[in-house]
């Protein structure tokens, strides 16, 4: 319902184009920025990428035909933009520098934001963020953002069977990591 209304507002030549875009930022800015952070594990980069996503969104508003869910469309832009960044030279330099220094950006940022606890939720969060990207992305999209396997496969341009396999492998890796960090079996 909500999407249908928005679709109508975003149609070409609508006088409410700016208003509609502002509403989109209000509705999805928070969750998109959080999702991006969970991919890149760095707040300044998450901020830049979130801006990129919404600027791209603005430039593509008139191409949205309403054939897909507006949320899926925005997520699709966000995931593609973030993955482009993760493949980039710049990111790899940052990423490996952090690894080389044996100092996780995730942990640094986490410390800045709240006191680290050893709760099960926190251990799970830490475990998820330590997954290699190809496993982390399926967990984040399917479990954290609750998209279906089919939607996840579409976002990532993977076959559904591949998504299922990666989810299975990701759960195993997560379990191992969770136990390693002190979680209960």
């Amino acid at each position: 319902m909500e999407n249908d209304n928005l679709s109508a507002m975003y149609s070409k030549n609508t006088p409410n184009r700016e208003d509609a875009f502002n509403q989109l930022m209000d509705m999805y800015g928070e969750e998109i920025k959080r999702l991006i952070f969970s991919f890149v594990k760095n707040w300044p980069q998450a901020e830049d990428l979130t801006q990129d996503v919404f600027v791209t969104l603005y430039t593509k508003l008139e191409t949205f035909r309403g054939e897909s869910n507006i949320r899926s469309w925005i997520y699709s832009i966000a995931i593609n933009r973030t993955k482009d960044y993760l493949k980039s030279w710049h990111f790899r330099k940052m990423q490996v520098t952090d690894k080389f220094k044996n100092e996780s950006t995730t942990e640094k940022n986490a410390v800045e934001l709240h006191v680290i606890s050893n709760s099960e939720d926190h251990l799970l969060y830490k475990s998820v963020l330590q997954l290699p990207l190809k496993y982390r992305e399926v967990i984040l999209i399917h479990y954290y953002k609750e998209f279906t396997i089919r939607e996840t496969s579409e976002f990532l341009s993977l076959k559904e069977a591949t998504v299922k396999t990666r989810l299975s492998r990701a759960r195993k890796l997560l379990h191992e990591q969770f136990i390693k960090l002190g979680g209960e079996r």
Binding site: N13, E30, E62, W89, V128, L174
Partner: protein
């Protein structure tokens, strides 16, 4: 159990990421500011103009221009290309299983023409037949000869060759038209011959037998058999074959010329994504650098899409030090192969093959083909992988070799102005590995 925990991830993860709002008014204002700077018109053309591809295109072209790989457009000046110079002449491995005893050089001149005839007698001194196809590199050791022949060296490649049995001798001769005369003493110990098999020189000698003919004799011969000589002349190709180093420079120069012509054409005709180039308009500018075949087979399809601004690298970017090979040189063709390593834009490398042909005394691109390295197994060495990562502004050090999913990956430390980083290179296909465990 993990499945149950994950089902709660949608609610448990957000407080862990941040307990406070992360998308603020500041974010919104920055986004709106960027949009205002874009000056996006309210009514647009049918074709959407998006920012991201343009930014990436700009980055791509900047990358090409400032790339620290030794791209072809930086290649043409020989003095600035030590990599080409270094690789062109490998020291010969001397194995005394052939002999050039009896080889000679004959110089003749008259008022019209000065000629040098090199006659090689190659004897198999080993106990077994030589079955490999042999080539002979002729190198001139004095500057007068280099000037007169127009080349420091060339290769004689006999078209038909059967095995040379043990003890057998074969003879090969080649005539060269000289642009100026040379003195007899300038021929003494001045012509080196290397016998080459599989790109390796395995024997070399210097010709010490010289016949220096007077002008009158030539004129006499000419008077006796004018028609016969005329026919022979027709059959003689210009026997100057370039060296490998020269061949690489010719290729790099040709690629640079093609690229520059594209740049000039873009400026001249204002080609862009909404005004794509047409072969009919842009094509003729490439005539000095490409054959008709290349023009028909490559330019006709390349030109309309080249100026799309769509982040695709259409032109080859051959790494000059890793797997860049001259596969064959004759008097009028040169064939090459080389690799374009993986990049940020496309994290899979490519293999390129090129063929240049000589038309009207000019080398022109006749063919190029690109194959993906996705399914390849280059079995890169550490040194090669290190060269792929090294640039003018960094130093690369081998760190370790690891296996990821059964694939060997060389891990390097890279030092540059930003500090020390670590990178992996897939030994099969040059891909950069970023998920190093």
């Amino acid at each position: 159990m993990m499945e149950e925990r994950l089902k709660k991830l949608s609610t448990s993860m957000d407080p862990e990421i941040s307990k406070v709002q992360v998308f603020t008014d500041k974010d919104k204002q920055q986004i709106l500011t960027r949009i205002r700077k874009l000056s996006v018109p309210q009514v647009r053309s049918k074709r959407p103009r998006t920012l991201l591809p343009r930014l990436l295109t700009a980055a791509l072209f900047s990358g090409i221009i400032f790339s620290t790989y030794v791209y072809f457009d930086k290649e043409p000046v020989p003095q600035t290309q030590p990599n080409v110079q270094i690789k062109q002449e490998e020291p010969p491995v001397i194995i005394q299983n052939v002999s050039g005893l009896g080889s000679s050089v004959e110089y003749s001149s008259n008022s019209e023409q000065k000629k040098l005839k090199i006659s090689l007698l190659i004897t198999n001194k080993s106990d077994s037949p030589i079955k490999n196809k042999l080539k002979y590199r002729v190198t001139f050791l004095n500057s007068s000869l280099v000037k007169a022949t127009g080349s420091e060296s060339f290769i004689i490649e006999p078209p038909m060759q059967s095995a040379i049995e043990s003890g057998d001798t074969i003879s090969i001769s080649k005539e060269i038209i000289l642009s100026q005369g040379v003195a007899k003493e300038e021929l003494e110990n001045a012509i080196k011959i290397e016998t080459i098999s599989d790109s390796k020189a395995f024997h070399s000698f210097v010709i010490d037998s010289i016949e220096y003919e007077e002008t009158k004799q030539i004129e006499k011969d000419k008077a006796e058999v004018p028609q016969q000589q005329k026919e022979e002349k027709k059959e003689e190709p210009v026997p100057v074959v370039v060296s490998e180093g020269e061949a690489k420079q010719i290729l790099n120069r040709n690629l640079a010329d093609i690229k520059q012509t594209l740049i000039n054409s873009e400026k001249k005709n204002n080609w862009n994504s909404e005004n794509p180039a047409t072969y009919e308009v842009a094509g003729p500018d490439f005539k000095p650098y490409v054959t008709e075949r290349f023009s028909n087979q490559v330019l006709k399809t390349l030109l309309p899409k080249y100026f799309c601004g769509c982040d695709i690298g259409f032109l080859p970017r051959i790494h000059q030090e890793v797997r860049f090979k001259v596969n064959g040189i004759t008097e009028d063709t040169i064939e090459f192969s080389g690799i374009e390593p993986a990049s940020d834009m496309n994290n899979v490398g490519s293999q390129w093959r090129f063929k240049l042909v000589k038309e009207n005394n000019e080398w022109k691109m006749d063919q190029w083909d690109e194959l993906t390295l996705q399914q390849a197994n280059l079995e890169l060495t550490k040194e090669e992988a290190g060269k792929l990562l090294s640039t003018e502004t960094n130093t690369v050090g081998f760190h370790k070799e690891i296996q990821i999913n059964g694939t060997n990956v060389y891990v390097f430390t890279v030092k540059d102005e930003n500090g020390e980083n670590i990178f992996g290179v897939d030994t099969r296909n040059t891909s950069l590995v970023y998920d190093i465990e």
